[in-house]
């Protein structure tokens, strides 16, 4: 039966120096394996998409590792997104040439929002994901203006892998990214990332309901229930997780079976 689109489960590979790593709230990184091997493993076990993020390219001010991208893409036949250190149309072109289907831009999009449009016009909006790393504002930091624009979920956008606060509101920035040609939003909750205590559902819902493009929720996945919550309460179109998949804690098919039992459409069998 064709009821419509399925909710996507995306396996994320955080890469630095050519290896997959995992940290808690962007620090304390431990080695999790080879990107090409892990990408293939995740795709074979039912991941709907693979995302590879070079998490130190921007902070190290170096280009993303094209060889790793090429090697990972070689035998991968599900959608493959690459991000980290994409600063120009040329950077994006090199990644598409290496086998990326979509690129994810974060810091460069904040600094030079026109780059979103530039890449979308050349490669199509479907190839451009704007990644937003957001951190909830403390109650004391919330202004009346925040409350007015953010559906009462004020969160600030950070860049350079969570190192620099921008002053941008997450919901507003997502809207702007969409208007400039982004095809999807990858929303990472910095508060939840690596904690395995669940996604930030209210923030995800605020962003998902503010835009008409798919929103990928990221940060905090620790159990099947968390995915159920982010698809129901969080209104997410896709959910991304890294560490729980790398270390084999979660069986992707089991996760999808759980989602299906909860009435969430997923690609199963896969």
């Amino acid at each position: 039966m064709s009821t419509g689109i399925t909710k996507r489960i995306i396996a994320c590979l955080d890469v630095t120096k050519g290896r997959v790593v995992k940290g808690v709230q962007f620090v304390d990184l431990v080695d999790a394996g080879d990107p090409a091997e892990l990408a293939h493993l995740h795709a074979a076990s039912g991941a709907d998409e693979i995302v590879l993020l070079d998490i130190t390219a921007t902070s190290d001010a170096r280009p993303i590792l094209i060889d790793v991208v090429r090697r990972t893409a070689l035998q991968l036949f599900v959608p493959f997104t690459v991000g980290g250190g994409v600063r120009s149309l040329d950077d994006a072109s090199a990644l598409f040439d290496a086998g990326a289907d979509k690129i994810s831009i974060n810091s460069a999009a904040i600094k030079t929002p026109a780059i979103i449009t530039e890449i979308a016009e050349r490669f199509g909006s479907q190839a451009v994901i704007v990644a937003i790393d957001a951190k909830r504002k403390l109650a004391a930091e919330v202004t009346t203006e925040d409350a007015a624009v953010s559906s009462n979920v004020p969160a600030e956008v950070y860049l350079a892998g969570g190192r620099i606060a921008t002053g941008h509101d997450a919901v507003e920035w997502a809207r702007e990214a969409e208007s400039r040609g982004a095809g999807e939003i990858l929303l990472t909750s910095m508060d939840c990332d690596g904690t395995r205590t669940g996604f930030d559902c209210p923030l995800t819902a605020a962003v998902a309901n503010a835009v008409n493009i798919p929103v990928i929720a990221s940060g905090g996945a620790g159990s099947g229930d968390h995915f159920v919550e982010v698809f129901k309460a969080g209104c997410a179109d896709a959910a991304l997780a890294a560490s729980i998949f790398h270390f084999g804690i979660h069986d992707l098919r089991e996760l999808k079976a759980q989602l299906q039992r909860e009435g969430i459409p997923v690609r199963l069998p896969c």
Binding site: S2, I5, R8, A73
Partner: protein, 206 residues
């Protein structure tokens, strides 16, 4: 040998990679002479319908029509399939090949547009079973990413539902098209590409 048509829009790497994986050699060209003489043609397309205008101005459009008339297998993917219809409201001034009736239009749905992700295909009742979808069960999942969709008309071999029902694939004699991306649709997609290669190989053996 598969000839991948390059018209400087989007990226051909993924499609080429999939053919390589299937052991099928491919060349990439935007040269009308090479397109005209191809054994099999694939037009991977992403992005805006207006980019297909370049196919007309470069002479590739005429070369594709000549090749099709000679019986050369031709597969259009995504915008490449939409180009096989009369046109698209995305770029009303740009003409398609009109191999299939009707015009592509933006999704009319309250759901999010673009339609991005994995969705299911279901065969339409047809006199001839689809060669492209041979061995692919109904309700198989494939990967879509598009905002415009083609109408369900004669020649549509499978449909998908996203708020409304639209053409997922087309097939008529040597002309094939998929709205979804077989190169991104896992084993199902590889099977579809292999079916196209097999058809092309049979034809060149004749």
């Amino acid at each position: 040998m598969i000839t991948l048509i390059d018209y400087k829009a989007g990226n051909l790497t993924s499609v080429r990679k999939a053919f390589n994986y299937l052991g099928q050699q491919s060349v990439v060209t935007g040269d009308p002479a090479l397109v005209r003489d191809a054994e099999a043609l694939v037009l991977p397309g992403v992005g805006h319908f207006c980019t297909t205008e370049r196919l007309a101005s470069s002479g590739v459009r005429a070369a594709v029509l000549e090749a099709i008339a000679r019986g050369v297998p031709f597969l259009g993917i995504c915008v490449g399939m939409q180009w096989q219809f009369a046109g698209s409201t995305e770029a009303p001034e740009t003409q398609g090949l009109a191999l299939f009736e009707g015009t592509c239009e933006r999704f009319r749905t309250s759901l999010k547009v673009p339609h991005v992700g994995w969705n299911q295909i279901r065969r339409t009742p047809a006199a001839e079973p689809s060669r492209l979808l041979g061995g692919v069960p109904d309700d198989s999942f494939v990967y879509f990413t598009h905002s415009y969709r083609a109408p369900v008309v004669a020649g549509v071999s499978a449909v998908t539902t996203y708020g409304e029902t639209f053409a997922a694939s087309v097939e008529r004699q040597n002309v094939f098209g998929t709205q979804f991306h077989p190169e991104k649709s896992g084993d199902t997609g590889l099977r579809i590409l292999k079916n196209f290669c097999d058809y092309a190989a049979e034809r060149s053996a004749r």
